[in-house]
């Protein structure tokens, strides 16, 4: 039995999980899986750490930060899902934001403090060489973030590309008006969400973890192959979803974060330990990770992944 | 001309029509202006109900109630009422309770601010009159039962009402305090000539104070007798020991006995 916590509600990007669940891939591995919603890609970490959930989906950067503080934290990452994080600064052309991060100088940015994208802001600003003293940051909560931008009360916002952009569109902002500065495309070469497991559980049930990942990889590959066909599996679990919107969301997630060039080259689910080590330098700046960060091998354990050829994106 | 307080063929049922309590039925009475009327009758016959009708606190199911030649449909503002249950407001001191009517009734209401001191003096002198000197700043629940009743009387008097409705105002007092207050009432009535309706169980009290005594039947209450008391005013307290006085008391007593027996 595995209780799994997602990072967020049941939405498009959760499609791979439900494919694996509803097509019986988990069952094929002899697993009885329940999938619960989450309350943010950080909230899921303590849920797994305490063993309330055996496995979960969450932000690897937050995981590193917590492991840094708490070396004996009983969580490790076992499968990379977002090879590039969807962290982005989203602005409006008419308010003077361009594809160049420099255009953010002198502007007013809206950010909910707990937002993970905003969490990487210091590293991003340094990497892009921005003069932060000219930039004002306003604390705007999640529910008002996009409306404030739509109303022009802020010039740009922090957020996940595949949620904020779509949200802005829904509020009637034209496609070509929206500028998305993906942090990962502007020097912030780091990882995003991973599948985590409670270490004690993994030790006792390595086969279960392996089976789970095997099934989930299948789900991901299918979703990547045909996003539109994947969405109905989510709709099963959340009646209020809008099909087109979720398809668009999943597609954006796949294009921007999942089926990245690196993933296409090396197969889905794995990490490059060097990149992981290097990303910790950014975290030192943005999240105050100490000078002796946890070893990448401690953070990510690739041993549960199926062989690379089973993970290749077609 | 009709009386100052005039009830005609009044009927009152408490609660629902079907299972309610018929308190008064076919009751008529008339009190002239300046007259001192007393109402006597067995317990539960509807005396307090009658008082509430006359001040417009409740309205009759049928029949009419008139006060000062106006039909009563809501509370009248010319009356001072001493309820059977003192019902002092517990958040006010005794003095503040006594002064309550001054805050409501015109013309005192508009004068109260400017002549505060005079009014307080008036209230205090009333309290002294009934033997409550020095208790003005006590709360009502710090007074004994009889003291509350006396404060209640002061509250009914303080705004010089044209009509005074007293519902067993001396019931919890010892004989001497009671007789003192009889004389207080007698003097006040002589001086100010207000109209009084007094409910009492004490026939001597009724005869001593009243110009006319109304006798009520058992419930459902109606008037079964009216007795004029013609002793000259002001009446000395010794009157109560005279034979003529006691004859009237005995006569009334007999009537009440009949009323009870009939029920």
């Amino acid at each position: 039995d595995i209780k799994f916590t997602l990072d967020w509600k049941f939405e498009g990007p959760a499609a791979p999980f439900f494919i694996a669940l509803d097509k019986g891939y988990f069952a094929d591995e002899g697993l009885n899986v329940t999938i619960d919603t989450g309350a943010g890609s950080r909230e899921s970490i303590p849920r797994v750490a305490t063993g309330t959930y055996q496995m979960g989906f969450g932000d690897i950067n937050a995981l590193i930060k917590l492991m840094d503080e708490q070396p004996d934290l009983g969580v490790k990452a076992v499968m990379m899902a977002y090879e590039r994080p969807p962290f982005a600064v989203i602005g409006r052309k008419s308010l003077g934001i361009t594809d160049d991060p420099k255009s953010l100088e002198g502007k007013k940015l809206g950010a909910p403090p707990p937002d993970a994208a905003f969490g990487q802001w210091p590293a991003f600003a340094q990497e892009a060489g921005l003069d932060t003293s000219t930039i004002t940051i306003e604390n705007v909560g999640f529910p008002v973030r996009e409306p404030m931008l739509a109303q022009g009360k802020v010039d740009a916002i922090f957020g996940y590309s595949f949620s904020s952009v779509l949200n802005l569109k829904a509020q009637g902002i034209a496609d070509d008006e929206i500028v998305t500065l993906l942090m990962a495309e502007n020097g912030l070469d780091m990882y995003g969400n991973v599948v985590m497991v409670n270490t004690a559980f993994a030790e006792e049930n390595p086969d279960a973890v392996k089976g789970f990942i095997k099934a989930l990889v299948k789900g991901y590959l299918e979703a990547i192959a045909d996003p539109a066909a994947a969405i109905p599996f989510v709709l099963e679990h959340n009646e209020v979803l809008d099909k087109d919107l979720e398809t668009a969301r999943l597609e954006m997630a796949i294009d921007g974060s999942i089926a990245t060039p690196a993933a296409k080259a090396n197969g889905f689910g794995g990490v490059d330990m060097d990149k992981l080590a290097k990303s910790m330098d950014f975290l030192k700046i943005s999240m105050g990770v100490s000078d002796t960060p946890p070893a990448p091998e401690k953070v990510f354990d690739p041993s549960y992944l199926p062989p690379a050829e089973e993970r290749m994106i077609k | 001309m009709t009386g100052f307080v005039e009830l005609r063929d009044v009927r009152l049922t408490y609660g629902g029509k079907a299972d309610g309590t018929l308190a008064l039925d076919g009751l008529s009475m008339s009190v002239k202006k300046g007259e001192f009327a007393a109402v006597v009758g067995p317990s539960g016959c509807g005396k307090s109900t009658l008082m509430k009708l006359a001040t417009g606190l409740i309205n009759p199911q049928s029949g009419t109630v008139e006060v000062a030649n106006k039909e009563v449909s809501g509370p009248v503002s010319i009356a001072g009422m001493a309820f059977q249950n003192p019902s002092m407001l517990p958040w006010r001191t005794t003095l503040e309770n006594v002064m309550l009517p001054l805050e409501i009734v015109q013309p005192h209401r508009s004068r109260l601010k400017s002549e505060k001191k005079a009014y307080i003096e008036k209230a205090e002198s009333l309290l002294e009159l009934v033997g409550l000197k020095g208790f003005g700043d006590k709360f009502p629940w710090q007074l004994s039962g009889g003291m509350q009743q006396r404060a209640n009387l002061c509250r009914a008097l303080v705004h010089d009402p044209a009509l005074l409705m007293l519902d067993e105002p001396f019931g919890a007092l010892d004989a001497f305090t009671r007789e003192e207050l009889w004389q207080v009432m007698r003097d006040l009535h002589g001086e100010k000539q207000f109209t009084v309706v007094l409910v009492t169980h004490d026939l001597r009290e009724a005869v001593y104070l009243a110009d006319r005594v109304f006798v009520m039947s058992a419930r459902p209450g109606k008037m079964i007798n009216e007795r004029h008391v013609e002793f000259a005013r002001p009446r000395p307290i010794d009157l109560t020991y005279e034979a003529a006085f006691n004859d009237i008391v005995h006569e009334l007593r007999g009537q009440i006995a009949d009323a009870r027996a009939a029920a």
């Binding site: 209780k3 916590t5 967020w8 509600k9 049941f10 939405e11 619960d36 919603t37 309350a39 909230e43 303590p46 849920r47 305490t50 309330t52 959930y53 529910p143 996009e146 409306p147 739509a150 949620s163 779509l166 949200n167 829904a170 509020q171 009637g172 679990h237 959340n238 009646e239 209020v240 979803l241 809008d242 919107l245 | 409740i58 309205n59 629940w141």
Partner: protein, 255 residues
């Protein structure tokens, strides 16, 4: 009689009035739908998503009621305990107040770690948020009992427990029911808050899903469903109150 009719009609008239003004305001000021949808939009969402709204409402109703019942039992017990003993009063009360000044959202994640997501944390949150008004009102009710009433029992040599049962509790019932009316609406707030953080169903979950769908009318439909549930529960409380404490509401049916 016509007056009576007006009063019967009043809630409907006011509600309809509100909706008309609202609809008009939205059209006149041209609020975009993501700021304030018009009632007609919300109505559309209600019709369209009737089935999820209904199912999620049932779930929320269930957790709310469970939490509320716990709060009633717990709040009554604690209120009586506080009215009972000055030591309990002095000791427990400050802690409880402190706890209650803390937004319950902050507590939900802890509950999730202990109990997982779903019904349990929602019930507990509803309980936590709803029990305080009950405690305060019951304690206030007990504290303001007229000593004369207590004396009636004390004169019989009654134990403190008896006084509590025969005078304390009945006398503080008007306070208690007053607080129930507050508590039931708070219980809804509690379970919805918890559902937004940690649940796979319930109105709170539905609203959050709708929000990330940018389906603002559905969010408002959820709010509307909550309002309706709240009113229904309130009406039940008020009815109970009238049945149980009719003696205290004597002046109501005066002319």
């Amino acid at each position: 009689m016509t007056n009576e009719r007006w009063i019967k009609a009043a809630p409907w008239l006011w509600s309809i009035g509100l909706f008309v003004v609202w609809e008009a305001a939205v059209h006149i000021f041209e609020f975009p739908v993501y700021i304030l949808p018009a009632p007609s939009d919300i109505w559309g969402a209600i019709v369209k998503y009737w089935s999820p709204i209904w199912k999620n409402s049932l779930q929320t109703m269930f957790t709310t009621l469970l939490g509320f019942l716990l709060a009633v039992v717990g709040g009554l017990a604690l209120g009586l305990a506080i009215g009972w003993s000055r030591a309990i009063y002095a000791g427990l009360y400050p802690l409880m107040i402190g706890f209650n000044s803390v937004p319950k959202v902050a507590v939900v994640p802890i509950l999730v770690i202990w109990f997982g997501i779903g019904t349990v944390p929602a019930v507990i949150t509803a309980f936590l948020i709803a029990f305080f008004p009950i405690v305060v009102n019951v304690a206030t009710g007990l504290a303001t009992i007229e000593p004369e009433m207590e004396d009636v029992l004390r004169a019989l040599g009654a134990k403190k427990m008896d006084i509590m049962l025969k005078v304390g509790i009945p006398r503080s019932m008007p306070y208690f029911f007053g607080s129930l009316k507050v508590a039931i609406t708070l219980a809804f707030v509690g379970s919805v808050i918890s559902e937004t953080v940690a649940a796979n169903s319930g109105i709170g979950h539905m609203m959050l899903s709708a929000q990330s769908q940018f389906n603002v009318p559905l969010v408002w439909a959820g709010l509307f469903a909550l309002a309706v549930l709240g009113i229904v529960m309130y009406a039940i409380m008020a009815w109970l109150e009238m049945r149980m404490t009719g003696w205290a509401h004597r002046s109501g049916n005066r002319p």
